[in-house]
Symmetry: D3
Subunit: 281 residues, 6 copies
């Protein structure tokens, strides 16, 4: 039994339907097989736990050789599976679809982290809520495997005040105060800003996190400098968001922010090249 | 009521959790708002029906201005929504996550179709089963909106005989015959081949679809020529799969195949740049 | 773990409710029992895998002695179960309800196949989509255990053009062409016809399957003859549907069709007489 | 909104899959249609409420002309539906599968009631728990539409002491007493008996219902006479079960029992001949 | 596998969300731990089976030392668990929330039973349908563990005629007769009364259970006396309901009723003081 | 459509089963009724939105007269419902079970807030995760209606370091640092402490929230004083938890903490006395 069984079964049912008609016709019921899963390019292990579960649900025995989150080589065996040949063939695509996506996210995140860290080892690379519908948990998990920060899981676990909210409230100060009063003390408050004035107001109002929305690295750097001068830098988390790519992430890292978030980590995933090699026994 | 409600509600619950704590704190319960959704780049409409459903579930009124599958301009209004401001803010991310992915798939598919058709107007561009887990239906729908062919929905709706299967059967001929005998007559039989000899055997055995697996366009062209000479081209569907990209798809189209399938259409999606602009009323 | 757990649990919960109050009151918690399941009449094994799962879910150990699809004798032990007496009594009705229906379908199908094959050993006996709501998979599986063809699983796995569709399209030819163009190349196209002219048009248009709808065997035979003369018989599948019963199926088999489909295989099932004999230990 | 939505949607999804590919290809999206549903033989209305819900879920407007449970003529219109032609075609099979089964059960039950009542107008015809898995509620509802008694819904709503239970308890008396003590006072206690002695013991022990299990009508009549002489007939319900058919039900009715139960009402259903006639508009 | 898995998983997911972020950060993945569960006050064991299942789902091994329903001492070990430390910490709150509530209900019920039985050892203490939404089964089970009677599980397992129903029917007699005619013979009929005249009418009409609604113990005693004189006491169950508390339950017990029901057993639960002590290994 | 439909339907199905057999037998199908819901004691409105949804699902029209969270009088009408009499009777218990619990929680919370605020108007009264399984969202919502703080929704939305965690880490300082490094920057970090030394270490380590676990008000006051002297009071949230009751909450409020949390708000709920008065029309 496993808490995530239902989700894995849902994925399998989606791909299998009434049955793998090809394997049922061509593979003897008692034919056994073994398989090993590996990447065809270097990357970060992710989704192996779920892939193992896919095969377990189908009656195979799966052994994960490397913990998710490890950096792995091309051709390195990551997962071994044994069981009925039909089950291996039936689960192959579902397992690969999970690993290809998660490995893609984890590896891309690791690359973003590497580039940012090369400039500023303390900066954190974060994801956003721009995940594939229904895959929030797997997408965020993969980001963590890649060394990234998952950021908010849901609308309910951190306050994030955006321009749409600010239209309805007299000021940032008032907005932060209302949130402080009406939202649980267990939640942090983040405010999106576009100028130094807004950042300053948010900082003074007590926002724990201040997000520079679509501001270029240079402007961020200056703003942080001004805030520092006013004693408003310390004790607060500053996040850069909007327009960040793998190509310019180092510039953002150099700007002095604490966190850089990229929607592309999860909304524009390049699938990793992953292979399940099946051998009949 | 709508057959897809549950899925949409599942997506919403995933993003919302116990509630949009920010909007609940800052937006008056009776504040009304209007929103319009548009792309910030040209593309193909997709996911608008689902996005409308997101807002309907939350108690808004949504009007879709353009049918999914239409080619649309940057900045063109595609969906209008009216309702409680809290509902619009709460549904925003879920709706956008759906549209960004589907629009990305549809637009990328349309581009693949355009490139292939420029060489061979009759060739069909197809997806594969390499979709995001849980999103098979939306991913395939988006492919169709882009003018592509969804290919197999599941393991149960078409026979596809691969090398793993062939290891267990004396010959392609025998494999096709077994499938013909044991699988419903309502299903087509497709066989993966790598050489002319295999293609010829599959054709003679009665396979309705023959897939050239990882064969370069030139080899495909020659193979098709040889099959034609032997009277084995007519009445069968030939598919090229493996290694196809937007860059080389025209070469595959020129090879004379009927179908070109690309896993990347759904496994490596570039999110389209989509915006929901909300105005308080 | 098993992919079909949830369905089996749903069936059990439906029958059990909050608990088997009779057994809870009269059977000691640690009382063990053994049971064996058998038919009281000869037939075809079907539903044994699901019955075993019922008892496994309830904490028993079940051993299936005969594969589903085998022809079995009256009184032959098909399944052995051991476990807590309460569990055996609680699962009895659910297991039997599954087996009685599936065994009934499989055995009736086998009889239809026997009668058709006595005249034409190559003819295929097929089911329809007239299954009990929620039981499509089990009903179709039972048909296959009886040697029948499941036919379409769903509306999405084969095109079937009926008179209602033809009302909206200029001609059968046009209908087949549109379906060919708009539906995935992985799907076959079937057309319902009532006359030779329609059959001829469907065949020339490229329909892979042609269904004679409610045509008497004699008319079918003549039509097939005429099609053969015109070179339209070969390479196509012809199906007889409507009005077929166990009594007249041999006549249909003699008409020369490839497939005979009967809704009654699944819509009017006679439950087989199945018994679970429980012994206290 | 409707409490049974989810079940109806589950039935639809089972039949539709990713979509009605035939109608999507051939029927224009804005084509409207009307349909009416009728029986092709006389019977009892049943399943109309659920059929209406099928079409409502798909966006049609359905009007039920006759309440479920009414006796209806062949060709009488029972349900009218209007809506998108695609929706009508998509929902047709699901709606018919529900009505065919429920109408079959209701009509067969009504016939059993008629035959029993012709001899003994007070006797009650009851179903059993031998229903199709997952369809307990619809099957029992159909029995009630036909004028029958649903009997136990589940294992938790009435005690029924069978021979398997009696093996584990010293006597019927002891069994009834234990059940009385350990089961809620809101539940009736029924005991299966095979002889006068057992019936007498059950009656004296306080069983509210006594079931004659597989006893011929003559033996039942004699037993009831003997019980009456001993003052044990009055105030108890006597049920005949096992071996009852439409052919011999009148004999059971003549035996003087209060209730006659038949598993065949729900385990061996003959589908009624029902038609949905669709007209394009 | 276990029939109640899904519910337990639902409870866990509700409490855990995407993960126990604290334990994931601080507890090494391979750290093992053991735990034992005990009450900090004497009471009745309840919910231990479910608590064990919580930990089993999370991959631990749980051993229940005492059957639910046993009277247990403060500090007595009731459940032992071993497994990954993370799993124990993650499941702690869910397991405790179940046990605290069920133990509270069971223990309070046992106290009510003790007080009632001190006056009348035969009287039954019953719950009502006033349970926490979604917890009907666990709440009723806990009542039974405490020696109480669960009363109706649902609206479908016993007829209960209340004043709202009587407004629509000419008389109690007529109401009972209609229920007798229209409801399955397997269900008992209970009538709520407020006066001797109503009780007499209900008894003569054949109600199996008569509930004195909000009548003081003295009035109940007199009414039962009068019914006894008229020969209407014997063979019927009399229930007192409304206004019963732990303080006055003995007076109701002394009134001679067969059943005393208290909504407070399940609607106003005092959580028992339960502790899970975790030791790292 | 409504995001919470499924939960409400689950609650209804739990109470209704196959149907309200009493109302079906006694209430004509076309009988209409009206109902109004009120408290029989003063309190805080809560659960009205969900109660309205119960009746909407059953086909009634419900109008909420007072927003949840309002203070209301005894006998004040809070909800009006109109619809089929059967539907009102069927939904009554489910609606009341929801409102009784939520109103009980909200009203008890409001009383706790009143007592705490009488001493310290700025102190916040918070719930815990000790909610009824499956009812986390409704329980927390009710706490908010009563003016309380919901505290953590789940294990994933705030770090809370307890003694079990500290056993595995060298020091509080190290634990906070690890959490800071390994958990998303969007989460706050709370530490449970028992002494001034621990509190001081937690504060210096950067914990945003410090919980005094089972410390008496006097000790808390002294500790806060000492922390203040060391400049560690400002900018941190201090919470008192463990052993707080309505009787001593004012003392805790006087101790100077920012938050006082009580498990009893949700684990030991006294149901409010709520009535649904139904009138036939």
């Amino acid at each position: 039994m496993h808490l995530a069984d239902e989700k894995i079964k849902e994925f399998l049912r989606e791909d299998v339907g009434y049955g793998d008609i090809t394997s049922a016709a061509l593979v003897p019921m008692d034919q056994r097989a073994a398989a090993h899963l590996y990447y065809r390019e270097p990357g970060v292990a992710s989704g192996l736990e779920e892939a193992a579960l896919v095969f377990t649900v189908l009656g195979c025995v799966a052994r994960q050789l490397v913990p998710d989150g490890s950096r792995v080589e091309a051709e390195q065996t990551l997962l071994e599976v044994r069981g009925p040949a039909r089950a291996l063939l039936t689960g192959e695509r579902t397992a690969l679809n999970i690993v290809c996506r998660m490995a893609g996210i984890a590896s891309q995140t690791a690359e973003a982290v590497r580039r940012a860290a090369s400039v500023n080892p303390l900066v954190r690379v974060a994801a956003t809520r721009k995940t594939a519908p229904g895959l929030r948990d797997l997408d965020k998990k993969a980001v963590e495997h890649g060394g990234g920060d998952p950021h908010r899981f849901r609308l309910d676990d951190c306050v994030l005040i955006k321009d749409n909210h600010l239209e309805l409230v007299p000021s940032i100060t008032e907005a932060v105060q209302r949130a402080r009063r009406l939202v649980s003390f267990t939640k942090k408050i983040e405010v999106e800003v576009r100028t130094l004035a807004e950042a300053e107001e948010a900082a003074r109002a007590g926002a724990e996190i201040i997000m520079f929305d679509n501001m270029p690295p240079k402007a961020i750097k200056e703003t942080l400098g001004s805030l520092d001068e006013r004693g408003l830098r310390e004790g607060r988390v500053f996040e850069a968001s909007g327009g960040v790519t793998l190509d310019n992430i180092a510039e953002y890292a150099a700007s002095g922010v604490d966190v850089i978030s990229l929607g592309s980590l999860t909304h524009s995933v390049r699938s990793l090249d992953v292979k399940l090699e099946i051998e009949m026994m």
